[in-house]
């Protein structure tokens, strides 16, 4: 079961409904026929070995793909910060790749910077084929406008490190240097990430072990920052159906060694679906759905909506019972498809930080 797939797919599907908005009927039928079958697009099949650096680059034959980075940072002013950098690719139609403005590839990016008192974000759109946005595998380079994630001369394709990531908008800007010594984590079955109930799947790997240092400007104030970051890479041709009305997703840095990903998909009929993945030195360990308890602990009024910004999180099998609190309860991404995404802290059996994303409220 690949919940990661669902989360990101639903987000980007909805966001790429562009002006349609959250209530758009297009979510049901999908953007440019996205909700239909994957006819014409490359299919995700088991047994394909992911190869690097090739697979750091785009897979235009697949319908959807993303490069998704979140970072929990501490400033030299002792304050906590969070940073998001996300690049999505979508092929609007299958078939041979077309050049120039005729390209069927559409790119979208979100960037955000968050402190305890401020949350700033921006989005970008681009068409493929003209050099405004794209990803190159060697040397690794993902970009849209002036935002980019770029490898250095000494970047190791097995760790995808070091990297430099930067974004700038009206009221925030950041540049982070990412380093990692651990290899990439292949999710699911060696990177083949199955969705058992629908027979859908994606290719999926992560780098949850990045350390980050750099500088961040927020509302004109500049601080030096360092901390932890988490990168997700995923591509597929089969997004999900639209019977979920939202999700709550956690990426948690339990320690330098142990990382935890958890989510629940909220179904319209109230049967929420849970999933999770415990990542340690031995690799990733999927958690049984009934072994995860996610309970809203506090509701905040955010952008005119009631959103649970604090949670009780328990994974009894791993001896985990924590309570999460947002760094900034107003971490709302009022982008064309709005959602809540921001840094969180947690305490209890474990203490640390991570990121929380919630949609559909």
């Amino acid at each position: 079961m690949n919940a990661e797939m669902s989360r990101r797919a639903l987000l980007r599907l909805a966001a790429l409904a562009l002006a349609g908005g959250a209530s758009s009927p297009l979510r049901a039928q999908g953007y440019a026929g996205l909700g239909q079958d994957a006819a014409g697009f490359a299919r995700v099949v088991p047994g394909v070995a992911l190869t690097f650096p090739r697979d750091h680059g785009p897979h235009p034959g697949f319908r959807i793909e993303w490069w998704y980075l979140t970072a929990n940072l501490a400033g030299d002013d002792k304050a906590a910060y969070g940073v998001q950098w996300t690049l999505f690719r979508q092929a609007a139609m299958p078939g041979p790749q077309r050049d120039g403005f005729d390209s069927q590839q559409v790119w979208m990016a979100h960037a955000a910077a968050t402190s305890a008192t401020a949350h700033r974000f921006a989005e970008r759109f681009a068409r493929g084929g003209v050099g405004q946005a794209g990803v190159e595998a060697t040397p690794f380079h993902a970009f849209i406008d002036a935002w980019e994630m770029r490898a250095g001369a000494d970047t190791d394709p097995r760790t995808l490190a070091p990297l430099t990531v930067s974004a700038a908008a009206k009221d925030f800007a950041y540049t982070l240097n990412l380093a990692a010594t651990r290899p990439l984590v292949l999710q699911g079955e060696a990177g083949y990430s199955r969705k058992s109930d629908r027979g859908q799947a994606s290719y999926y790997y992560s780098q949850p072990y990045f350390t980050a240092e750099g500088s961040l400007s927020l509302d004109g104030r500049r601080v030096a920052v360092r901390g932890q970051a988490w990168l997700d890479r995923e591509w597929s041709s089969q997004p999900l159906a639209a019977d979920q009305n939202g999700w709550d997703w956690f990426s948690l840095h339990l320690s330098d060694d142990v990382k935890l990903m958890l989510f629940r998909l909220r179904h319209a009929d109230g049967r929420h679906f849970h999933s999770g993945n415990w990542i340690d030195r031995d690799g990733s360990h999927p958690l049984p759905p009934d072994g995860i308890a996610l309970t809203p602990a506090a509701i905040s009024r955010v952008a005119g909506r009631d959103i649970p910004t604090a949670w009780q999180v328990a994974v009894p099998a791993r001896g985990l019972s924590i309570e999460t609190a947002p760094l900034n309860a107003q971490s709302y991404m009022a982008t064309r498809f709005p959602y809540w995404e921001g840094p969180i802290r947690f305490r209890g059996t474990h203490e640390g930080q991570g990121y929380l994303e919630m949609t559909g409220y």
């Binding site: 609007a92 403005f101 002036a146 700038a168």
Partner: protein, 825 residues
């Protein structure tokens, strides 16, 4: 507060007793506001349309990056700028023809289109995602205004064919799009316009969206940044047209204020005893002024509302003509329906109030300083008149000096209008002085008592009538000026058309293949003596759009083409690609004369040519140059070779036209003979001045009203002068006839004075304003018939205005005349 109420009530009772005077005041205010607001409504409507048109392809609200030298930019530059932090969006623009309709095709890139870009499928606008996807993905969409869909006689979903076997994407209606424009995805536009990898310009989004690298670092000197708020081509081209309209609106406003001034002045004089009584009863000077102000502002507000409504009606009446003019002259599309904004109402009512206050300032100041006891001044009016005439004469002299000053050092259209204003005001102010002088001389020559009295009485009347006569003078002078200009233009234009349109038949083929077929066909016709290719291209010189005409080497041009100035070897130099021809307006704009040289940027590189000749190009707002056909095709390689003209004997034209029409299915847009083309040109020309003529008539009407109201208000106050004559035995009929004769004589004198003034105005319009506004100077002709006609109209207006007061006088009850002696005023 209560005191103010009573004061006001007392003052207002005057109007109840003098309803005509009140009507005069209101008519003046309404007329002033109506014409002004009408013109403003038209201007606003047109500007809004230009904005709308400009918004899709830049200009107006957005900054733009345009090629500094070349015609287009490589699209790689777009990505390069985006990567450097510039929030730019590419646009490719060109012209296409489908179903016999010419369209401006705009290729837009909706994913990057800035928020303020206007009616295109921007992410922010009301277009749903399904529409956006349909726009982006094959087959795409062609967005057009509802009017364009009708013009194409097509339905949504149709795919209009283009000349070369291509089709436009399915049509879809976008209500807020400007007519005559089709918006497609930029990828589609690159294919349709055959400009792969090219863009015309870049729209620049909000400048607060992150840091940008310096432009020169990214693009060197290939780009020019045009800041937001810069005029679009359409705005620049049509600017002079709107300045003309505004000038007329302002003139009408001033003429209307003349009426207001005289009405308020008269009311003030008549209310003097009342006001003195009120002051004696304890009303403070401040209270009195406040009451007068309240009264005035109230009237102005009411008149402002009515004036705005009347202005709306006038605008609605004129707009179709204006729209046709703008379309014919500039290709600017202005919808025929008016959309009014609150700002327009506020401006109209504000103008009414401001105008009323300006017209009443004199009276208000007098009320503030009103002495309680008036001392008797025998011959007071005469002393006052003399002082007033002296003052006006001095002012006229100063204004005349100012006019000379403007003529010597002024530059630009505004200076041209300032010159006109100074001349007209000076003349208006000098008019009473001239009339007084004439009356003085006339009185000397008068041999009977009655005529002597008539002259003296006329002089006394002059103070009251002079404002109305000034209004008449101005209206007549403007009429003469504009009439002379239009006639001069018509004369030159007709002659110019004869020279310019020397070929008998003009053909624009749909595509190259049809062009070849037509050429092959006419080669078999013995009556055709020459086939002259007339290709066209577009370029930009110093930022302005310029048409490039191709010339074949043929006696048709050598013998006929109208020229203002030329080098001796012009036609040989032109043929050999050493020289170019340049239109008068472009030459003026660039400050070039025959013999100078010009660097020209073409798609195939830059070249320098000598300006071999300058020719008049009336009615064309764009600059124009002419080069040899060889040079044009060599440097504008994608210029279609589809236009040509035919020489043949005139009597063979109808047969050949019919043959061509039936064989190649050419509609009038593609095949036209000389006579029809001349007719069309004259129609466009006539429309251009239709609005001017309408406003002219309105102005004359307002002047007639001014005269009428002045005479009406004067009528009542003149009884004390007339009653003694009646008592001495002059019949009422005789008195009335004398009065009418005096009025007519004053009107005639004014009309005669208007002739030299009008001709001066015409000269200013032809030699100063037209040159600045349009770039061409017209020969000055005088049309005596027209002058006689106008004087007749002026006299008729005066007669009409004087008829009612005269009739009233001739039927006045003797009792009323006797009463003058009973109650000593």
């Amino acid at each position: 507060m209560r005191r103010l109420g009573w004061t006001l009530a007392t003052l207002l009772s005057h109007w109840r007793r003098h309803p005509t005077q009140f009507a005069t005041l209101m008519i003046g205010l309404i007329a002033a506001t109506a014409l002004w607001s009408g013109v403003q409504a038209i201007n606003a409507q047109a500007r809004q349309s230009y904005d709308c048109a400009a918004a899709v392809f830049g200009g107006g609200r957005l900054a733009m990056l345009v090629p500094a030298r070349d015609e287009t930019l490589p699209q790689a530059l777009f990505a390069k700028l985006r990567r450097a932090g510039w929030p730019v969006s590419p646009v490719l623009e060109g012209r296409i023809a489908t179903s016999g309709v010419g369209l401006r095709l705009i290729g837009a890139e909706p994913l990057t289109l800035p928020r303020a870009a206007g009616p295109a499928p921007a992410l922010e606008l009301g277009i749903g995602a399904a529409d956006l996807a349909a726009f982006l993905l094959p087959p795409g969409r062609t967005l057009v205004a509802p009017a364009t869909l009708r013009e194409l006689a097509a339905r949504e979903g149709d795919t209009p064919a283009l000349g070369d076997g291509m089709r436009l994407p399915p049509l879809a209606v976008q209500a807020d799009l400007v007519p005559g424009t089709a918006v497609v995805d930029i990828g589609v536009a690159q294919r349709v316009l055959d400009r792969p990898g090219q863009i015309s310009r870049l729209l620049v989004g909000a400048d607060d969206d992150g840091p940008r690298a310096p432009l020169a670092e990214v693009a060197g000197d290939t780009l020019r940044l045009i800041p937001p708020g810069s005029e679009s081509d359409l705005e620049r081209l049509t600017d002079s047209f709107h300045v003309n309209l505004t000038a007329f609106g302002l003139l009408s406003f001033v003429v209307g204020l003349f009426i207001v001034y005289s009405a308020i002045g008269l009311a003030f004089e008549q209310r003097l005893p009342t006001m003195r009584a009120m002051r004696a009863c304890g009303v403070s000077a401040r209270g009195l002024t406040a009451a007068l102000l309240v009264e005035l502002v109230g009237a102005a507000l009411a008149a402002g509302v009515v004036g705005c409504i009347a202005g709306y009606l006038i605008a609605a009446l004129l707009l179709p003509d204006v729209a046709l003019s703008l379309r014919g002259l500039y290709g600017a599309e202005v919808p025929g329906e008016l959309a009014l904004r609150p700002a327009w109402w506020f401006a109209g009512i504000g103008m009414s109030v401001a105008g009323a206050l300006a017209a009443a300032a004199h009276s208000l100041i007098k009320a503030q300083n009103l002495p309680l006891i008036a001392t008797a001044h025998p011959y007071a009016w005469r002393t006052a008149q003399q002082r007033w005439l002296t003052w006006q004469g001095a002012a006229a002299l100063v204004l005349a000096g100012a006019a000379l000053g403007i003529l010597a050092v002024g530059d630009g259209l505004i200076a041209g209008f300032a010159l006109l204003a100074a001349i007209m005001l000076a003349a208006a102010l000098a008019l009473p002085l001239l009339l007084a002088l004439a009356l003085h001389l006339g009185a000397r020559g008068a041999n009977t008592m009655l005529t002597r009295w008539a002259f003296a009485d006329s002089r006394q009347q002059l103070s009251g009538l002079s404002l109305a006569l000034m209004a008449l003078l101005l209206a007549l002078a403007v009429n003469i000026g504009v009439g002379t200009m239009v006639k001069s233009f018509e004369t030159s234009f007709a002659g110019w058309l004869d020279q310019r349109l020397a070929s008998e038949i003009y053909i624009r083929a749909a595509d190259d293949a049809q062009a070849r077929a037509i050429t092959a066909f006419v080669a078999t016709r013995p009556e055709v003596t020459a086939v002259l290719p007339t290709p066209r291209a577009e370029t930009r010189i110093k930022g302005g759009p310029v048409e490039v005409l191709g010339f074949a080497d043929h006696p048709t041009y050598r013998d006929h083409w109208p020229l203002i100035a030329a080098t001796p070897t012009l036609w040989d130099d032109l043929r050999d690609g050493r020289a170019l021809l340049m239109s008068e307006q472009l030459a003026r704009r660039l400050g070039l004369a025959a013999g100078d040289s010009l660097r020209l940027v073409t798609p195939a590189g830059a070249l320098t040519l000598q300006v071999g000749g300058i020719y008049p190009d009336y009615g064309n707002p764009k600059g124009q140059i002419g080069v040899s056909n060889d040079l044009l095709f060599a440097h504008w390689r994608d210029a279609p070779d589809t236009r040509f003209s035919l020489r043949l004997a005139p009597d063979a034209v109808p047969a050949l036209v019919a043959a061509l029409r039936s064989r190649f299915a050419l509609d009038p847009a593609h095949l036209i003979d000389q006579a029809a083309l001349k007719r069309d040109s004259m129609t466009i020309f006539n429309r251009t001045f239709a609005v001017t003529a309408s406003l002219n008539a309105f102005t004359l009407g307002v002047a007639a009203v001014a005269l009428l109201t002045s005479l009406l208000t004067l009528g009542a106050s003149r009884l004390p002068q007339l009653a003694p004559l009646w008592a001495m035995g002059v019949t009422r009929r005789r008195l009335a006839a004398l009065d009418l004769a005096k009025t007519m004589a004053l009107a005639l004198a004014t009309a005669l004075a208007a002739i030299p003034l009008g001709l001066l105005v015409a000269w200013c319009l032809l030699a100063v304003v037209n040159v600045k506004a349009f770039g061409w100077r017209l020969p000055f002709h005088v049309f005596p018939g027209q002058l006689v006609q106008l004087i007749a109209v002026a006299l008729a207006a005066a007669l009409l205005a004087a008829a009612l007061p005269t009739l009233r006088l001739s039927r006045m009850k003797p009792a009323d005349l006797i009463r003058v002696f009973a109650n000593e005023r």
